[in-house]
Symmetry: C2
Subunit: 281 residues, 2 copies
């Protein structure tokens, strides 16, 4: 497995692979990899000749009061996981390699970024779109893999790829969970024992909401209230949002019908966690 720190190294290797007719699968990450990322790499491995993983804690997607500095990092462990899972190249640039002085270009996906996490984190998706565009141009993948845990991110990236005619297939992959149902996340590392126990409330509430929808409920308010009430029973939890939207447009829906995203963001202590399910209703 190759470890590349510069754009130039990545491009040289990719071009060599392209010349051999190899297809390229790409998994962009912020590192501190867990079984969620691993499932993306495995899927990429299955569907492509070569797999590139990027490990880059992207400063432009963090707000000024957010956890850029403290975001967990363990490149040695990441390398082992990538190697073990069969990745062919890790791209591990520093911020200087990725962002030149004088950089002035912004990408904005209208509408889809107004609600949910975009409301709480107004500069977040601009930063995501920027870094993903850059990485796409550096890695030139045939397919790129994103977790459904960041469902709004997945919807935004799909929209951007369509709008800008990137010739890349975007593959969404299911959420991977701990045994007790907590969605795998690098930010789970922030939780102390008490908080870790409390964090299961997100999945518990969502599971109940899903059952209610599967039983035929189409009333948005009723399902949102049910999920909200369950989370509120957990004293360590503070709701950022509980929302039910159209998964493609992230627009509010009047009733639960179509391709629906039910998403929550909840602070457990100081740690903001997100979880969701997507349902064809």
């Amino acid at each position: 497995m190759i470890i590349a720190n510069t754009i130039k190294e990545v491009r040289l290797q990719i071009k060599a692979w392209m010349k051999e007719g190899k297809s390229i699968g790409f998994v962009p990450t912020m590192g501190f990899l867990h079984e969620g990322h691993q499932s993306l790499i495995e899927r990429a491995k299955k569907e492509n000749d070569k797999v590139v993983v990027s490990v880059f804690v992207n400063p432009t997607q963090f707000g000024p009061t957010e956890d850029l500095e403290s975001y967990p990092r363990d490149f040695e462990k990441d390398t082992m996981l990538c190697e073990m899972t069969g990745a062919d190249l890790i791209f591990h640039p520093d911020a200087k390699e990725m962002y030149e002085k004088g950089a002035s270009t912004l990408i904005h996906v209208e509408g889809l970024t107004n609600a949910l996490c975009g409301k709480s984190r107004p500069t977040h998706f601009g930063g995501v779109c920027l870094v993903v565009s850059k990485l796409f141009h550096i890695v030139s993948p045939d397919r790129a893999y994103f977790g459904e845990k960041d469902a709004q991110q997945l919807a935004v990236i799909k929209r951007m790829v369509k709008d800008l005619n990137f010739d890349i297939e975007i593959v969404g992959c299911p959420i991977i969970r701990e045994v007790d149902g907590l969605a795998k996340s690098s930010r789970n590392a922030y939780l102390n024992t008490q908080e870790r126990a409390a964090a299961t409330i997100l999945n518990k509430a969502l599971t109940k909401g899903k059952e209610t929808i599967l039983a035929g409920e189409t009333n948005v308010v009723k399902v949102k209230n049910e999920i909200t009430e369950i989370i509120c029973k957990e004293p360590l939890a503070k709701i950022d949002y509980v929302e039910i939207v159209d998964f493609d447009t992230i627009a509010p829906v009047k009733s639960i019908k179509g391709n629906i995203l039910v998403a929550v963001a909840v602070f457990i202590g100081k740690t903001r966690l997100i979880d969701n399910f997507i349902i064809q209703a």
Copy 2:
């Protein structure tokens, strides 16, 4: 020469050429081609195995009160010029092929788009960056050719390509002029005989400004005033701007030193014309 109306057709042809190891030169245009465009195609032909020309009057780069409807079109003549100049493929999509319903992605290059034409046409460069990004993803060129006549556009595209890590070389090509010095432009077609004669004032004024700089003048105000005074003597001319900026950043300069762009925009009757020179001072 191939004429392709759909993105799919272009991609198939480009992929076939790539497989054969052919390099691709790209000339994006709004059609109504003249000797300026021809010089870009010739340059592209010299430096690449295959040359793609796009002919698309891009609605997103026109403001609501601008000349989208009346912009001159003559695809038959364009086809002949491309064929004659040795282009290999014309991409000639309609607006529906380029802009899907629900498209939501915007690209903004900060700073460089505030002054000059960006000031008079606030949504213009967003539209340019959007369509150029899309075309770059459709055509996948090795090199793309832009005229220096649209000098701010060239600076903005270069910045965007750097910031988003497009793996494309941007080649700026010199302004092509009529015998009397008027810069070739599709919009010259709007001018009546009187206006056509008056339009030579742009180049006359710029030529005088250039002489003054070459003689050693570094005072921005003095050179701007000299150019302004010459243009003001022409009764049919109404100045939009006369500016002297850094060519890379389009930022105002305190004195004429470095890589300098001297640019003017002038209404001749109802027709807005631009012209400029770039000088290493």
